[in-house]
Amino acid sequence: MTDSYIYIIIPLLPLAALMLVFQVNPYHALVIRAILGAVAALVYGVLGAADVALTEALVGTMLAITLYLVAVRSSLVMRLGILQEVEAEGEIDLEELIVNLRKILNQHNLRLEIAEYPNSQALEQALMTKKIHATCTKGEPERDRSYHTAIRVRRLFEIMETELTSPVTTLSYVTVSNLEDKH
Amino acid sequence: MDQIAYLDIILRLTIWFLLTSDFSLANIIIGVSIAFLLPRSYTSSGALQDWLRVLWEIIVAIPQAYVEALQIMVRPHNEEEIVRERVKPRRTPGLVFLDIFLITFTPKTIVLKYHEQGWYEVHRVRRRKKR
């Protein structure tokens, strides 16, 4: 068991692990995780643990990656609620706002999902029961900005406050009490 | 139909015996029963001659692939292009798969997409034209 190549193969495992830890983009990190699984299977195989290597290959590079991918995909999302009538009017302002939001969210590896609601009560209800993260409604006519965006997630609000420069909308942060959260 | 089913079962038995390399009676019984129990697809299959010809082409493709690899290595092919090729008529899905396999197996060409209307989109590398 004192073959010299073992000493070269084993450092590959911490090397791949470090690459994984310093990866920022979650999707890229997933691919690196798969690489880590392949390298780990190699190390286990070299050390003579055939069963562990097989398990690592099956679970580490196939099952875990697929599950992680679905989880990352469905959790890194911002759900924005709008009213159906606003959507139906198809205003340029709103489209521009959504394009802006998409761009900012993409930089943070998030997606934007639009949810439509029939009236403003349903929209408010959805925000309060945490079905959506933010609402976008028509603002009051006396203000010069035509839309109002309310966000209930602190971190999202901070990001938008610093990066969203669209003149179309005003921003506000709403606190949602946990009492109405019926899980 | 029947002959293709035989080929299918023979393929499964071959993989089983190569994997276990054990010719005891128990192992043979297990292998045969697994080969019959695994689900089979009942889609239409092409004529036996077509299959045999494709199998022969696969055997020929291996040395051809090495020759092409050497050609790419000796003289660099830097030009890329996408061409379309016509699928031969009366191909069943299995035969289309084998055709794609053959084209992709050789290093110079890769099938990008298979159109239902009977076209392959083939990506290939070639040498720069002398002008």
Partner: protein
């Protein structure tokens, strides 16, 4: 004699590996890299396994299965990668 053949097969395979893997670092398109990878990973690995087969014939069933697996899966993988990377847009 057979010893010499097996070693030359393995060395050819390793040369293929290096030749096909080095273009990965450059800035070519995904499809071009896929061509050189098919040289390295399919043909090079097949050559290495064939060299091993000549060297130690007692494990022939396993090595033969490895060659078949390598040929089929790597080729299909090349097709799938080419299809996915060209169809899905390259964000």
């Amino acid at each position: 004699m057979i010893e010499f053949f097996s070693y030359s097969c393995i060395v050819i395979g390793i040369i293929f590996w290096f030749w096909g893997t080095l273009p990965l670092i450059g800035k070519r398109s995904v499809l071009f890299k896929l061509h050189s990878l098919s040289v390295a990973d399919t043909l090079g690995s097949m050559s290495i396994v064939f060299g091993l087969l000549l060297k130690i014939p007692s494990e022939w069933p396993l090595l033969l299965l490895a060659i078949i697996t390598l040929a089929i899966w790597n080729t299909v993988l090349g097709y799938v990668l080419a299809y996915c990377s060209s169809g899905g847009g390259e964000q």
